[in-house]
């Protein structure tokens, strides 16, 4: 790849890749995603166990189940959006890390502070 005014764009690409890898290694974001997904499986298991027990003891009927499913549909919408927010946040961080590296390199190569 070209070197312009002492800026080696092959190195810039490697730096950009390293910057985006560093964002992908953001443990907090992955832990948050894991927590949302873990709660989905734990929550459903817990609820289904309770429902099965209460159905046997006559404390839960079909109408109760319908009301519960209504709530779960709304909850599912929230979970999907929350996973999307964490994903978009990661995408934003990766993009901005790459933009930082390229912006600085382009400014240096051209000799003007354009970006």
């Amino acid at each position: 790849m070209a070197t312009i005014n002492g800026v080696d764009f092959s190195q810039v690409s490697k730096d950009a890749l390293a910057a985006s890898k560093a964002v992908l290694n953001d443990e907090k974001a992955w832990a948050n995603l894991k927590d949302i997904i873990k709660d989905l499986s734990h929550g459903l298991t817990r609820d289904v166990q309770l429902i099965a027990k209460r159905k046997l003891s006559g404390e839960f009927n079909e109408d109760d189940a319908r009301a519960y499913i209504e709530d779960q549909k709304t909850l599912a919408r929230m979970r999907i959006r929350s996973v999307a927010i964490v994903g978009l946040q990661l995408a934003e961080k990766i993009w901005n890390a790459i933009a930082d590296v390229f912006g600085e390199a382009i400014n240096k190569a051209i000799g003007w502070k354009l970006l």
Binding site: K28, N32, D35, I51, E59, G103
Partner: protein
């Protein structure tokens, strides 16, 4: 599907434009400490109402049908009206707070969030479309939409509590209904909190 495909070229053009300018972008609205603190407060408020529901409600249909004057019972909807109303007001305040920072998202972020909203609506249609209409909202913010759905839960809970089919003509829920609400509330607030705290630098 056709709506989604129509929007793809404009999203790609926006991404390419960003690539050539190497600009920093804001895809999701920024972290808001107060929004999270207020979310925790509404969780406590709803949780306290649920605890009262659990301790005062009958266990079975037989126990409930044996209540002589349902309207005087501690678990009757009339004893919870004020709390449902307070939760609705506090949920509105959260929606407004979330909205105040939604404008900080760039066009590309709005488009991406808009596409995700279309997918959500297509797979799981809203049960509370009137909330957005009443508040006069037209936002693509995923954060705001999550708070609208939190309010939707409270609105639906009130409707279920006065549903004569579900409550067998008593407007009294059973203990298990409340216990499952507790689990739903916990998961809903956890999902919101995990998404919002991921933005904290």
């Amino acid at each position: 599907m056709s709506i989604r495909l129509r929007c793809v070229p404009s999203v790609i053009v926006s991404i390419l434009a960003l690539f050539f300018c190497s600009c920093a972008i804001t895809i999701v609205q920024p972290y808001d400490e107060k929004l999270l603190a207020d979310t925790e407060a509404i969780f406590k408020e709803a949780s306290s109402m649920i605890d009262d529901g659990i301790s005062n409600s009958p266990r079975t249909d037989e126990e409930r049908s044996g209540i002589k004057k349902p309207e005087d019972h501690l678990a009757h909807i009339s004893k919870f009206q004020g709390r449902y109303a307070a939760l609705g007001t506090d949920a509105d305040a959260l929606i407004l707070r979330a909205l105040s920072r939604a404008q900080e998202v760039d066009k590309i972020g709005e488009k991406l969030q808009g596409q995700i909203n279309i997918l959500v609506e297509e797979s799981l249609p809203s049960q509370c479309e009137d909330i957005e209409r009443e508040l006069g909202l037209s936002t693509t913010s995923l954060t705001v939409k999550n708070y609208i759905d939190l309010k939707c839960l409270f609105v639906r809970w009130k409707a279920q509590h006065s549903d004569l089919v579900l409550t067998k003509g008593t407007s009294i829920l059973k203990r298990t209904n409340w216990e499952l609400r507790k689990s739903t509330l916990f998961s809903a607030v956890l999902a919101i909190q995990k998404a919002e705290t991921s933005k904290k630098q």
